[in-house]
Subunit: 455 residues, 2 copies
């Protein structure tokens, strides 16, 4: 019998799970989402605000009608789930409907964490998560001369660049003392910060947002000892998993704040695997594919990979999610910034001693016009010599290199083996004869050798 599938959540994880279940022989599929829109990429919102993409409608790939008509998936928008009755195998919505399931996919995603500071409810304070957030930001823009972005992660910096491109005075405030903390090392972060500063963006680092001032509307913020006047505050302060439903169901929450899952993406309750329930996306705490330990990936690409596995499983098929190295990329002004695996600080969180090296080169042969500088940092476990991380800042062609390094990390390749065996394609308009990734690996091999470690 084809299985009835209910999916809670209409982001990348939920939509992928539903579409995949359809492709793997599921029966009735119902997808329930609180959002008005489905099938769009939150990652695109800063680029709409910046004006690189014309309209929010452009980033919506498909309508709910499309899914109904083309894929036989019943998509309920603006609909909240009240609770899940596992005994009866039913999902109840707040508007009083109920939907039976044979398999349930929970892809409730995450919500921007707004720190509990005074003034957070003032007009002009926005998270960046859904299209409606983006639309509200655009509507307010004409009233804004100065903007503050709270949080110097990639979304924060992309929004800072977008608002700067709209002619605003932009200040980024960040609790940590560097931009893109946790996933970029300080040396690489400094390149990114300098690029943003050259665009006229101001930074206040090591200073948590402590107060938002204003009456009705925001007029300024306090961060550390700094006061910054502003008419808009963008909250890019990180994403927390939406745990209401999982907690109601008594599912185990992991130490990093997501639902702990098996390789089949099933949750646990009181130490036992829960049957016929699968999780995917930002709500999940899964395995790192780099080192033995948990991770919160919270990337659209990971949501899709997990949605695929959850969808196959929900339909009764077989697939496993083997963990993630969480390769990421961001475009900040003209700069492409990406990384994969562990940064130094993350590795140290895992208790791992790191060896590192950096290569500097060009995206093309040195003499070929239009080449852009590229800086590649590689990190290895100092004990085994295995590659565990990479970070790249450059003007073009960063994404492919991030994926390339990710492949090496996933395969457990050492710096020495990378030098010996990994090959790069070469043509003057696309690469140097020794790619900067390979140059960084050669340096890293020397560092490891100098330390007398295996390479």
């Amino acid at each position: 019998m084809a299985r009835k599938v209910v999916v809670i959540g209409g982001g990348a994880a939920g939509m992928t799970a539903a579409s995949t279940a359809r492709g793997h022989g599921a029966g009735e599929i119902t997808l329930i989402t609180e959002d008005e829109h489905v099938a769009y990429s939150p990652c695109a919102i800063p680029f709409v605000v910046e004006g690189r993409i014309k309209d929010f409608q452009d980033i919506v790939m498909h309508t709910p009608e499309f899914y109904r008509r083309e894929r036989g998936i019943d998509v309920l928008v603006k609909t909240s789930v009240d609770k899940v009755d596992e005994e009866a195998r039913k999902v109840m919505t707040k508007d009083g409907r109920s939907f039976e399931y044979d398999a349930l996919v929970i892809a409730t995603g995450g919500t921007v964490f707004i720190p509990p500071v005074e003034g957070r409810e003032l007009k002009g304070v926005f998270p960046v998560r859904g299209i409606s957030d983006g639309q509200a930001i655009m509507e307010r823009l004409p009233m804004v001369h100065q903007a503050v972005v709270a949080g110097a992660g990639v979304i924060g910096l992309e929004m800072a660049v977008a608002l700067r491109a709209r002619g605003k005075e932009v200040t980024v405030v960040e609790m940590f003392d560097q931009v893109v903390p946790r996933i970029l090392d300080r040396d690489m972060a400094q390149l990114v910060q300098a690029h943003c500063e050259a665009l006229g963006i101001r930074f206040i680092l090591g200073a948590p947002l402590s107060c938002i001032e204003g009456e009705g509307s925001v007029t300024g913020v306090t961060a550390g000892r700094h006061q910054v006047p502003c008419q808009m505050v963008i909250m890019a302060t990180g994403v927390r998993a939406n745990l209401r439903i999982p907690e109601q169901m008594g599912l185990e929450i992991g130490p990093l704040g997501g639902v702990r899952v098996s390789p089949s993406l099933q949750p646990y309750r009181k130490g036992r695997l829960v049957p016929d329930v699968y999780l995917a996306g930002d709500v999940v705490m899964c395995q790192s594919a780099v080192l033995a330990g948990p991770t919160m990936s919270q990337l659209g690409s990971t949501a899709v990979r997990q949605g695929r596995v959850a969808g196959i499983r929900a339909a009764g098929g077989s697939a496993t999610f083997p963990g993630t190295a969480s390769p990421w990329i961001s475009v900040i002004g003209d700069m492409h910034v990406g990384g994969t695996g562990m940064s130094r600080s993350l590795a140290e969180y895992y208790g791992v001693k790191v060896a590192e090296a950096t290569g500097v080169g060009s995206s093309r042969a040195r003499y070929y016009p239009g080449g852009k500088d590229i800086t590649v940092k590689l990190l290895a476990d100092a004990g085994s010599g295995r590659l565990i991380g990479g970070q790249i800042v450059g003007g073009e062609d960063v994404a492919g290199r991030v994926n390339w390094i990710t492949a090496a990390i996933l395969e457990g390749v050492t710096a020495g083996a990378f030098v010996e065996r990994f090959e790069g394609s070469y043509c003057p308009p696309t690469s140097m004869v020794v790619d900067t990734v390979c140059a960084a690996a050669e340096r890293l091999e020397k560092v490891l050798r100098a330390q007398g470690k295996s390479v």
Copy 2:
């Protein structure tokens, strides 16, 4: 005692061997080359002819003086080796000098194979190999209205585009019935041919060049039943290893026409490893890293990788060359074309049954302005499901994807494992949320599954 090293050949392999030997503690290093220039990339020549790079001087990275002064390498240009006296461990030059060695690196490269057709010695007939060839072509250009390129490999097509950009009527004649034979499959080759035709380049396929006409200077060619008037013929008819020295020394030549080498890049004589002699670059027949069997890589990037190993060995160190998947890339007009591992025809030469699938996508999110079409073809060994090849045609960001696929091939990853484990970074300006490489892998997994094969 630091070892005296003599390197024969000043291309990518020879120069890398010499520089690497210097970095690994070699003593005196002498490099002997017939060329006037060293340290330039022959791959750049079409782009100088096209005008993308201003001058041939731009592509010369370093002078012989640089190597003498900065690296303590004695570079003798315009110097021919007469013979190697292995007993006395001496290299004798035709101008009567001799150079002692403890280790000898042979990196004599290759020469364009000019088919033995009538008229090959006429004025206006050029190979494309060294800077002097490029300069001679440029000098003749003002006299040329129509040009014929013999050979539709990547160098031939790059030259055809270059001559077209200079306003010439260009006809490409090719013995095989497709462009980029052997390394591109027919379906992918057709995309490349169509792109060239849109630029106004004419093709005569399945028609070997049989005669070059003219008195003194070329006035036309015959290819198959076609006669094409022209004032210039570019010979892009493949490269043959320069075997004079290896043959004099009695080294074993492999079935593909290069010197057979061990993983240490040493040659064999009468079945025995020859001590203290190392080979690198286009003269070498080495192992394929994809399938058990020999290959002629003849890529600048492979020359550098082999030069590194030969240099370390020559200096007395330890390194091995583990084979090559020969990832390559070419820029033909606005099209980036690349590949890695086996094409279908090469795999069939190895006796391997192939499963294949193709994905079509964009270099950016569909809605993000400026995205370019990208087509990715993946090939697997139909028996094991292992990836053995990839081919990509696109408008940008092809090189990184070629390297990414190469990593999977080198690691012996199956299509199924690629889908399960390999991850791509995502950001709307740089990628689709499911990269086209991953989409192709998913299709390939389905093809294999439908055939009831392991995936």
